[in-house]
Protein backbone atom coordinates (compact mmCIF):
# COMPACT_ATOMS: atom_id res chain seq x y z
CA UNK A 1 0.00 0.00 0.00
CA UNK A 2 2.66 2.47 -1.09
CA UNK A 3 1.48 5.53 -3.06
CA UNK A 4 2.24 5.73 -6.78
CA UNK A 5 4.79 8.28 -7.98
CA UNK A 6 3.78 11.96 -8.32
CA UNK A 7 5.45 15.34 -8.69
CA UNK A 8 5.41 17.48 -5.57
CA UNK A 9 5.02 21.26 -5.56
CA UNK A 10 5.18 23.46 -2.44
CA UNK A 11 4.11 27.00 -3.39
CA UNK A 12 4.54 29.82 -0.85
CA UNK A 13 1.74 32.13 -2.06
CA UNK A 14 -1.87 31.63 -3.13
CA UNK A 15 -1.07 33.15 -6.52
CA UNK A 16 1.69 30.62 -7.20
CA UNK A 17 -0.54 27.84 -5.88
CA UNK A 18 -3.34 28.54 -8.33
CA UNK A 19 -0.88 29.10 -11.15
CA UNK A 20 0.62 25.68 -10.44
CA UNK A 21 -2.82 24.15 -10.20
CA UNK A 22 -3.77 25.53 -13.60
CA UNK A 23 -0.63 24.00 -15.08
CA UNK A 24 -0.94 20.56 -13.52
CA UNK A 25 -4.72 20.10 -13.39
CA UNK A 26 -4.88 18.49 -16.87
CA UNK A 27 -2.21 16.03 -15.76
CA UNK A 28 -4.18 14.85 -12.76
CA UNK A 29 -2.87 17.53 -10.44
CA UNK A 30 -4.65 17.90 -7.10
CA UNK A 31 -4.39 20.07 -3.99
CA UNK A 32 -2.81 18.54 -0.86
CA UNK A 33 -3.98 20.20 2.36
CA UNK A 34 -4.59 17.92 5.40
CA UNK A 35 -4.32 14.75 3.29
CA UNK A 36 -6.42 12.73 5.75
CA UNK A 37 -8.76 11.54 2.95
CA UNK A 38 -6.51 11.93 -0.11
CA UNK A 39 -3.45 10.06 1.21
CA UNK A 40 -5.34 6.89 2.26
CA UNK A 41 -6.84 6.79 -1.27
CA UNK A 42 -3.30 7.16 -2.65
CA UNK A 43 -1.94 4.42 -0.35
CA UNK A 44 -4.66 2.11 -1.67
CA UNK A 45 -3.63 3.25 -5.18
CA UNK A 46 -7.20 4.21 -5.95
CA UNK A 47 -6.12 7.79 -6.34
CA UNK A 48 -2.98 8.21 -8.44
CA UNK A 49 -2.59 12.00 -8.88
CA UNK A 50 0.19 12.98 -11.27
CA UNK A 51 1.00 16.16 -9.29
CA UNK A 52 0.32 17.35 -5.75
CA UNK A 53 0.19 21.07 -4.93
CA UNK A 54 0.91 21.20 -1.20
CA UNK A 55 -0.68 24.38 0.16
CA UNK A 56 0.51 23.83 3.74
CA UNK A 57 3.41 26.19 3.07
CA UNK A 58 1.27 29.03 1.73
CA UNK A 59 1.36 31.96 4.13
CA UNK A 60 -1.89 33.38 5.42
CA UNK A 61 -4.16 30.41 4.68
CA UNK A 62 -4.70 29.41 8.29
CA UNK A 63 -6.81 32.31 9.54
CA UNK A 64 -10.32 32.16 11.00
CA UNK A 65 -11.88 35.58 11.25
CA UNK A 66 -15.22 37.32 11.26
CA UNK A 67 -15.89 39.56 8.29
CA UNK A 68 -19.24 41.22 7.57
CA UNK A 69 -21.31 38.90 9.75
CA UNK A 70 -19.64 35.83 8.29
CA UNK A 71 -17.06 33.48 9.82
CA UNK A 72 -14.33 33.17 7.20
CA UNK A 73 -12.38 29.92 7.34
CA UNK A 74 -9.19 29.75 5.27
CA UNK A 75 -8.10 26.73 3.22
CA UNK A 76 -5.58 25.41 5.78
CA UNK A 77 -7.61 25.83 8.97
CA UNK A 78 -7.44 22.47 10.75
CA UNK A 79 -10.39 20.67 12.36
CA UNK A 80 -8.53 20.98 15.69
CA UNK A 81 -8.87 24.78 15.52
CA UNK A 82 -12.56 24.31 16.38
CA UNK A 83 -11.85 22.34 19.58
CA UNK A 84 -12.21 25.73 21.27
CA UNK A 85 -14.92 28.21 20.25
CA UNK A 86 -13.44 30.28 17.41
CA UNK A 87 -16.22 32.87 17.65
CA UNK A 88 -18.68 33.86 20.32
CA UNK A 89 -22.33 33.00 20.15
CA UNK A 90 -24.13 29.89 18.88
CA UNK A 91 -22.01 29.36 15.77
CA UNK A 92 -18.82 28.93 17.80
CA UNK A 93 -20.61 26.54 20.16
CA UNK A 94 -22.09 24.59 17.22
CA UNK A 95 -18.73 24.14 15.50
CA UNK A 96 -16.93 22.97 18.63
CA UNK A 97 -19.80 20.56 19.37
CA UNK A 98 -19.71 19.09 15.85
CA UNK A 99 -15.90 18.84 15.58
CA UNK A 100 -15.85 16.16 18.33
CA UNK A 101 -17.63 13.79 15.93
CA UNK A 102 -15.00 14.12 13.22
CA UNK A 103 -12.70 11.05 13.09
CA UNK A 104 -10.15 11.07 15.90
CA UNK A 105 -7.90 13.61 17.60
CA UNK A 106 -4.73 12.97 15.49
CA UNK A 107 -6.81 13.19 12.27
CA UNK A 108 -8.26 16.50 13.45
CA UNK A 109 -4.75 17.89 13.96
CA UNK A 110 -3.99 17.64 10.23
CA UNK A 111 -7.38 17.48 8.45
CA UNK A 112 -8.79 20.81 7.19
CA UNK A 113 -12.30 22.34 7.14
CA UNK A 114 -12.09 23.33 3.47
CA UNK A 115 -10.48 20.01 2.57
CA UNK A 116 -13.57 18.23 3.86
CA UNK A 117 -15.78 20.45 1.71
CA UNK A 118 -13.67 19.92 -1.42
CA UNK A 119 -13.56 16.13 -0.84
CA UNK A 120 -17.35 16.14 -0.28
CA UNK A 121 -17.66 12.70 1.32
CA UNK A 122 -21.40 12.09 1.96
CA UNK A 123 -20.50 11.42 5.64
CA UNK A 124 -18.59 14.70 6.16
CA UNK A 125 -19.84 16.65 9.17
CA UNK A 126 -18.51 19.97 7.86
CA UNK A 127 -20.36 19.48 4.55
CA UNK A 128 -23.60 19.08 6.51
CA UNK A 129 -22.82 22.28 8.47
CA UNK A 130 -22.03 24.14 5.23
CA UNK A 131 -25.20 22.91 3.50
CA UNK A 132 -27.46 23.57 6.49
CA UNK A 133 -26.14 27.04 7.39
CA UNK A 134 -25.87 28.09 3.74
CA UNK A 135 -22.11 28.53 3.54
CA UNK A 136 -20.49 30.33 0.62
CA UNK A 137 -17.34 28.84 -0.90
CA UNK A 138 -14.66 31.02 -2.52
CA UNK A 139 -13.01 29.24 -5.44
CA UNK A 140 -9.82 30.78 -6.80
CA UNK A 141 -8.06 29.98 -10.06
CA UNK A 142 -5.91 31.74 -12.62
CA UNK A 143 -9.21 32.65 -14.27
CA UNK A 144 -10.28 34.62 -11.22
CA UNK A 145 -12.34 34.12 -8.11
CA UNK A 146 -15.96 33.04 -7.85
CA UNK A 147 -18.21 32.40 -4.89
CA UNK A 148 -20.47 29.35 -4.84
CA UNK A 149 -23.44 28.77 -2.58
CA UNK A 150 -23.66 25.42 -0.76
CA UNK A 151 -26.64 24.38 -2.85
CA UNK A 152 -24.60 24.77 -6.03
CA UNK A 153 -21.36 23.52 -4.50
CA UNK A 154 -22.40 19.96 -3.51
CA UNK A 155 -23.28 17.82 -6.58
CA UNK A 156 -23.28 14.21 -5.37
CA UNK A 157 -20.99 11.77 -3.59
CA UNK A 158 -17.43 13.17 -3.77
CA UNK A 159 -18.63 15.64 -6.40
CA UNK A 160 -18.47 19.41 -6.15
CA UNK A 161 -18.75 22.31 -8.59
CA UNK A 162 -15.01 23.06 -8.23
CA UNK A 163 -13.20 22.87 -11.54
CA UNK A 164 -9.99 20.85 -11.64
CA UNK A 165 -7.88 24.03 -11.58
CA UNK A 166 -9.79 25.78 -8.76
CA UNK A 167 -8.54 26.03 -5.16
CA UNK A 168 -11.18 26.29 -2.43
CA UNK A 169 -9.50 29.30 -0.80
CA UNK A 170 -12.01 29.88 1.99
CA UNK A 171 -15.48 28.99 3.27
CA UNK A 172 -17.80 31.61 4.72
CA UNK A 173 -20.37 30.62 7.34
CA UNK A 174 -23.11 33.14 8.22
CA UNK A 175 -22.99 34.03 11.93
CA UNK A 176 -26.06 32.69 13.72
CA UNK A 177 -28.31 35.15 15.55
CA UNK A 178 -27.35 35.48 19.23
CA UNK A 179 -30.49 33.65 20.36
CA UNK A 180 -30.26 30.90 17.74
CA UNK A 181 -30.45 27.33 19.03
CA UNK A 182 -28.92 24.29 17.41
CA UNK A 183 -29.08 20.52 17.68
CA UNK A 184 -26.68 18.05 16.06
CA UNK A 185 -26.90 14.25 16.20
CA UNK A 186 -24.88 11.59 14.37
CA UNK A 187 -25.15 7.82 14.23
CA UNK A 188 -21.95 5.90 13.49
CA UNK A 189 -20.81 2.34 14.28
CA UNK A 190 -17.87 3.35 16.51
CA UNK A 191 -16.61 6.58 18.08
CA UNK A 192 -15.02 8.57 15.29
CA UNK A 193 -16.35 6.43 12.42
CA UNK A 194 -17.89 7.79 9.24
CA UNK A 195 -21.47 8.89 9.94
CA UNK A 196 -24.12 6.48 8.70
CA UNK A 197 -26.60 9.31 9.19
CA UNK A 198 -26.57 12.74 10.86
CA UNK A 199 -28.77 15.79 11.21
CA UNK A 200 -28.27 19.46 12.09
CA UNK A 201 -31.15 21.71 13.10
CA UNK A 202 -31.07 25.45 13.95
CA UNK A 203 -33.83 27.91 14.62
CA UNK A 204 -34.81 30.76 16.94
CA UNK A 205 -37.77 30.74 19.27
CA UNK A 206 -39.80 33.97 19.35
CA UNK A 207 -42.93 34.14 21.53
CA UNK A 208 -43.14 30.38 21.62
CA UNK A 209 -42.75 29.61 17.91
CA UNK A 210 -39.79 28.53 15.81
CA UNK A 211 -38.47 30.94 13.19
CA UNK A 212 -35.60 30.80 10.69
CA UNK A 213 -35.76 27.02 10.72
CA UNK A 214 -32.93 25.13 9.02
CA UNK A 215 -32.92 21.33 9.05
CA UNK A 216 -30.08 19.44 7.28
CA UNK A 217 -29.55 15.72 6.69
CA UNK A 218 -26.17 14.15 5.96
CA UNK A 219 -24.71 10.68 5.37
CA UNK A 220 -28.04 9.36 4.09
CA UNK A 221 -27.91 10.75 0.55
CA UNK A 222 -25.05 11.38 -1.85
CA UNK A 223 -24.75 14.95 -0.60
CA UNK A 224 -25.93 16.76 2.54
CA UNK A 225 -28.86 19.14 2.07
CA UNK A 226 -31.63 21.06 3.80
CA UNK A 227 -35.03 19.44 3.72
CA UNK A 228 -37.26 22.36 2.76
CA UNK A 229 -40.52 20.41 3.01
CA UNK A 230 -39.79 19.63 6.66
CA UNK A 231 -38.59 23.17 7.44
CA UNK A 232 -41.90 24.52 6.11
CA UNK A 233 -43.79 22.30 8.58
CA UNK A 234 -41.76 23.77 11.48
CA UNK A 235 -41.57 27.46 10.58
CA UNK A 236 -43.82 29.44 12.87
CA UNK A 237 -44.92 26.39 14.83
CA UNK A 238 -44.51 25.62 18.53
CA UNK A 239 -41.72 23.05 19.02
CA UNK A 240 -44.17 20.45 20.40
CA UNK A 241 -43.24 16.78 20.10
CA UNK A 242 -46.06 16.15 17.60
CA UNK A 243 -44.81 18.98 15.36
CA UNK A 244 -41.23 17.80 15.57
CA UNK A 245 -42.26 14.19 14.87
CA UNK A 246 -44.34 15.22 11.88
CA UNK A 247 -41.40 17.15 10.44
CA UNK A 248 -39.11 14.14 11.02
CA UNK A 249 -41.60 11.91 9.20
CA UNK A 250 -41.53 14.41 6.33
CA UNK A 251 -37.73 14.13 6.24
CA UNK A 252 -38.04 10.33 5.94
CA UNK A 253 -40.48 10.72 3.06
CA UNK A 254 -38.31 13.26 1.25
CA UNK A 255 -34.82 11.73 1.33
CA UNK A 256 -33.59 9.46 -1.46
CA UNK A 257 -31.15 7.35 0.48
CA UNK A 258 -28.02 5.68 -0.80
CA UNK A 259 -28.36 1.88 -0.79
CA UNK A 260 -25.84 -0.91 -0.15
CA UNK A 261 -25.54 -4.32 1.49
CA UNK A 262 -24.56 -2.98 4.89
CA UNK A 263 -26.99 -0.03 5.11
CA UNK A 264 -30.08 -0.57 2.94
CA UNK A 265 -32.05 2.47 1.76
CA UNK A 266 -34.97 1.66 4.06
CA UNK A 267 -32.71 1.55 7.09
CA UNK A 268 -31.08 4.86 6.16
CA UNK A 269 -34.53 6.38 5.72
CA UNK A 270 -35.45 5.32 9.26
CA UNK A 271 -32.21 6.80 10.57
CA UNK A 272 -32.93 10.08 8.81
CA UNK A 273 -36.25 10.28 10.66
CA UNK A 274 -34.71 9.42 14.06
CA UNK A 275 -31.75 11.78 13.78
CA UNK A 276 -33.81 14.66 12.40
CA UNK A 277 -36.15 14.36 15.38
CA UNK A 278 -33.28 14.14 17.85
CA UNK A 279 -31.55 17.18 16.32
CA UNK A 280 -34.80 19.16 16.50
CA UNK A 281 -35.42 18.04 20.09
CA UNK A 282 -31.90 19.08 21.13
CA UNK A 283 -32.36 22.46 19.48
CA UNK A 284 -35.73 22.94 21.17
CA UNK A 285 -34.49 21.79 24.59
Amino acid sequence: MKPARFEYHAPKTVESAVALLAEVAPREGRVLAGGQSLVPAMALRLAMPGHLVDINGVAGLDRVRVEARELVIDACVRHAAFHRQVVGGPLGALLSHVVRHIAHYPIRIRGTFCGSLAHADPASEWCLVAATLGARMTARSVRGTRVLTAADFFQGPMATALAADELLAEARLPLLPADARFGFHEFSRRAGDFAVAMSLATFRIGNGVMTGVRLGIGGVEGSPRRIGAAEAMLEGQRPSSTVLRAAADQVARTVEPLDDARYAAGYRRDLARVLARRALESAAA
Partner: protein
Amino acid sequence: MEFDNTLEVSLPPDEAWRVLLDIRRIAACIPGAELTEVVDERTYKGKVSVRIGPVAMSLVGRARLEEVDHANRRARVKAQGADPKGRGSTDSVIDFRLEPAGNGTRVLIHTDVKLAGSIAQYGRGSGMIQSVASQLIARFGEALKTQIAESSSRPATAANAVPPPAKPASGLALIARALWDSIVRVFRRQQRR
Protein backbone atom coordinates in the same frame (compact mmCIF):
# COMPACT_ATOMS: atom_id res chain seq x y z
CA MET B 1 -25.69 -3.92 -9.78
CA GLU B 2 -28.82 -3.87 -11.97
CA PHE B 3 -30.77 -0.90 -13.25
CA ASP B 4 -33.91 -0.50 -15.30
CA ASN B 5 -34.64 2.68 -17.20
CA THR B 6 -37.29 3.56 -19.73
CA LEU B 7 -37.53 6.57 -21.99
CA GLU B 8 -39.96 7.72 -24.63
CA VAL B 9 -38.93 9.14 -27.98
CA SER B 10 -41.07 10.65 -30.68
CA LEU B 11 -39.44 8.58 -33.48
CA PRO B 12 -41.38 5.53 -34.70
CA PRO B 13 -39.89 2.14 -33.66
CA ASP B 14 -38.04 1.17 -36.91
CA GLU B 15 -36.28 4.51 -37.14
CA ALA B 16 -35.39 4.48 -33.44
CA TRP B 17 -34.12 0.90 -33.93
CA ARG B 18 -31.74 2.05 -36.68
CA VAL B 19 -30.23 4.70 -34.37
CA LEU B 20 -29.83 2.19 -31.63
CA LEU B 21 -27.67 -0.06 -33.79
CA ASP B 22 -25.28 2.78 -34.58
CA ILE B 23 -22.69 2.29 -31.84
CA ARG B 24 -21.03 5.60 -32.56
CA ARG B 25 -24.21 7.42 -31.58
CA ILE B 26 -24.65 5.30 -28.50
CA ALA B 27 -21.05 5.92 -27.42
CA ALA B 28 -21.54 9.64 -27.78
CA CYS B 29 -24.35 9.42 -25.22
CA ILE B 30 -22.18 7.93 -22.52
CA PRO B 31 -20.71 10.53 -20.17
CA GLY B 32 -16.90 10.35 -20.51
CA ALA B 33 -16.93 7.75 -23.29
CA GLU B 34 -14.61 7.77 -26.28
CA LEU B 35 -14.79 5.33 -29.16
CA THR B 36 -11.30 4.69 -30.45
CA GLU B 37 -11.61 2.03 -33.14
CA VAL B 38 -14.21 0.16 -35.08
CA VAL B 39 -13.13 -3.51 -35.22
CA ASP B 40 -16.04 -4.80 -37.25
CA GLU B 41 -19.69 -4.14 -37.80
CA ARG B 42 -20.54 -5.18 -34.25
CA THR B 43 -17.35 -4.72 -32.27
CA TYR B 44 -15.93 -1.46 -31.15
CA LYS B 45 -12.94 -0.40 -29.05
CA GLY B 46 -13.05 2.58 -26.75
CA LYS B 47 -12.46 3.88 -23.31
CA VAL B 48 -14.42 5.69 -20.64
CA SER B 49 -12.77 8.13 -18.26
CA VAL B 50 -14.45 8.85 -14.97
CA ARG B 51 -13.48 10.85 -11.91
CA ILE B 52 -14.55 9.73 -8.46
CA GLY B 53 -13.41 12.38 -6.02
CA PRO B 54 -9.61 11.98 -5.97
CA VAL B 55 -9.89 8.82 -8.09
CA ALA B 56 -9.57 9.33 -11.82
CA MET B 57 -9.88 6.14 -13.85
CA SER B 58 -10.18 5.17 -17.44
CA LEU B 59 -11.63 1.77 -18.32
CA VAL B 60 -10.22 0.59 -21.62
CA GLY B 61 -11.86 -2.29 -23.43
CA ARG B 62 -14.40 -3.33 -26.02
CA ALA B 63 -18.11 -3.53 -26.63
CA ARG B 64 -19.86 -6.10 -28.78
CA LEU B 65 -23.34 -5.82 -30.10
CA GLU B 66 -24.68 -9.34 -29.61
CA GLU B 67 -28.07 -11.01 -30.05
CA VAL B 68 -29.52 -8.43 -32.37
CA ASP B 69 -33.16 -9.44 -32.80
CA HIS B 70 -34.57 -7.21 -35.52
CA ALA B 71 -38.05 -8.73 -35.38
CA ASN B 72 -38.63 -7.89 -31.74
CA ARG B 73 -36.27 -4.91 -31.79
CA ARG B 74 -34.16 -6.30 -28.96
CA ALA B 75 -30.36 -6.03 -28.70
CA ARG B 76 -27.76 -6.89 -26.17
CA VAL B 77 -24.42 -5.12 -25.80
CA LYS B 78 -21.71 -6.89 -23.86
CA ALA B 79 -19.00 -4.55 -22.61
CA GLN B 80 -15.74 -5.47 -20.92
CA GLY B 81 -13.04 -3.08 -19.85
CA ALA B 82 -10.19 -2.66 -17.41
CA ASP B 83 -8.25 0.14 -15.81
CA PRO B 84 -4.70 0.24 -17.22
CA LYS B 85 -3.36 0.94 -13.71
CA GLY B 86 -4.68 -2.41 -12.47
CA ARG B 87 -7.41 -1.08 -10.20
CA GLY B 88 -10.10 -3.30 -11.59
CA SER B 89 -12.24 -4.38 -14.48
CA THR B 90 -15.86 -4.42 -15.47
CA ASP B 91 -18.12 -6.86 -17.29
CA SER B 92 -21.38 -5.22 -18.15
CA VAL B 93 -24.46 -6.18 -20.12
CA ILE B 94 -26.97 -3.68 -21.50
CA ASP B 95 -30.23 -5.02 -22.92
CA PHE B 96 -32.32 -2.76 -25.12
CA ARG B 97 -35.94 -3.36 -26.09
CA LEU B 98 -38.12 -1.09 -28.18
CA GLU B 99 -41.89 -0.98 -27.93
CA PRO B 100 -44.25 1.22 -29.89
CA ALA B 101 -45.71 4.00 -27.76
CA GLY B 102 -48.38 5.91 -29.58
CA ASN B 103 -46.62 7.06 -32.74
CA GLY B 104 -43.29 7.19 -30.91
CA THR B 105 -41.24 4.49 -29.23
CA ARG B 106 -40.58 3.42 -25.68
CA VAL B 107 -36.96 2.33 -25.10
CA LEU B 108 -36.51 -0.12 -22.21
CA ILE B 109 -32.94 -0.41 -20.97
CA HIS B 110 -31.81 -3.07 -18.50
CA THR B 111 -28.24 -2.70 -17.32
CA ASP B 112 -26.22 -5.17 -15.25
CA VAL B 113 -22.85 -3.89 -14.10
CA LYS B 114 -20.37 -6.45 -12.80
CA LEU B 115 -17.12 -5.29 -11.32
CA ALA B 116 -13.93 -6.90 -10.11
CA GLY B 117 -10.67 -5.82 -8.61
CA SER B 118 -9.95 -3.12 -6.02
CA ILE B 119 -12.46 -0.66 -7.50
CA ALA B 120 -15.20 -3.12 -6.50
CA GLN B 121 -14.11 -3.70 -2.92
CA TYR B 122 -14.76 -0.60 -0.86
CA GLY B 123 -17.81 -1.51 1.22
CA ARG B 124 -18.41 2.06 2.34
CA GLY B 125 -18.40 3.30 -1.23
CA SER B 126 -20.82 0.79 -2.71
CA GLY B 127 -23.87 2.87 -1.81
CA MET B 128 -22.33 5.89 -3.48
CA ILE B 129 -21.42 3.93 -6.57
CA GLN B 130 -24.95 2.66 -6.94
CA SER B 131 -26.32 6.18 -6.76
CA VAL B 132 -23.88 7.53 -9.30
CA ALA B 133 -24.30 4.59 -11.62
CA SER B 134 -28.03 5.15 -11.74
CA GLN B 135 -27.48 8.88 -12.32
CA LEU B 136 -25.07 8.11 -15.16
CA ILE B 137 -27.52 5.72 -16.75
CA ALA B 138 -30.24 8.32 -16.43
CA ARG B 139 -27.98 10.86 -18.16
CA PHE B 140 -27.20 8.26 -20.81
CA GLY B 141 -30.93 7.78 -21.34
CA GLU B 142 -31.45 11.54 -21.77
CA ALA B 143 -28.56 11.80 -24.24
CA LEU B 144 -29.90 8.79 -26.15
CA LYS B 145 -33.29 10.43 -26.30
CA THR B 146 -31.88 13.59 -27.87
CA GLN B 147 -29.64 11.50 -30.20
CA ILE B 148 -32.64 9.60 -31.49
CA ALA B 149 -34.74 12.76 -31.77
CA GLU B 150 -31.97 14.62 -33.64
CA SER B 151 -31.17 11.68 -35.91
CA SER B 152 -34.55 11.86 -37.50
CA SER B 153 -33.34 15.14 -39.01
CA ARG B 154 -29.93 13.94 -40.43
CA PRO B 155 -28.53 10.70 -41.92
CA ALA B 156 -26.30 8.32 -39.92
CA THR B 157 -22.72 9.59 -39.63
CA ALA B 158 -19.99 8.04 -41.85
CA ALA B 159 -19.08 4.41 -41.05
CA ASN B 160 -15.97 4.84 -38.94
CA ALA B 161 -15.94 8.52 -38.06
CA VAL B 162 -14.98 8.74 -34.46
CA PRO B 163 -16.76 11.26 -32.21
CA PRO B 164 -14.48 13.78 -30.36
CA PRO B 165 -13.11 12.52 -27.00
CA ALA B 166 -15.45 13.50 -24.17
CA LYS B 167 -14.14 15.07 -20.95
CA PRO B 168 -14.28 12.71 -17.94
CA ALA B 169 -17.69 12.55 -16.34
CA SER B 170 -16.24 14.57 -13.55
CA GLY B 171 -19.49 16.08 -12.65
CA LEU B 172 -20.55 12.82 -11.11
CA ALA B 173 -18.06 11.29 -8.76
CA LEU B 174 -18.12 8.46 -6.26
CA ILE B 175 -15.67 6.64 -4.10
CA ALA B 176 -14.08 3.58 -5.58
CA ARG B 177 -16.49 0.73 -5.80
CA ALA B 178 -16.65 0.77 -9.58
CA LEU B 179 -19.44 2.59 -11.12
CA TRP B 180 -21.34 3.13 -14.30
CA ASP B 181 -22.04 0.74 -17.01
CA SER B 182 -20.67 1.65 -20.34
CA ILE B 183 -20.21 0.64 -23.95
CA VAL B 184 -16.50 0.00 -24.00
CA ARG B 185 -13.97 -2.25 -25.63
CA VAL B 186 -13.16 -5.68 -24.31
CA PHE B 187 -9.93 -5.67 -22.36
CA ARG B 188 -6.82 -6.50 -24.32
CA ARG B 189 -3.26 -6.65 -22.91
CA GLN B 190 -1.65 -4.23 -25.27
CA GLN B 191 -4.20 -1.72 -24.17
CA ARG B 192 -2.22 -1.33 -21.00
CA ARG B 193 0.39 1.13 -22.14
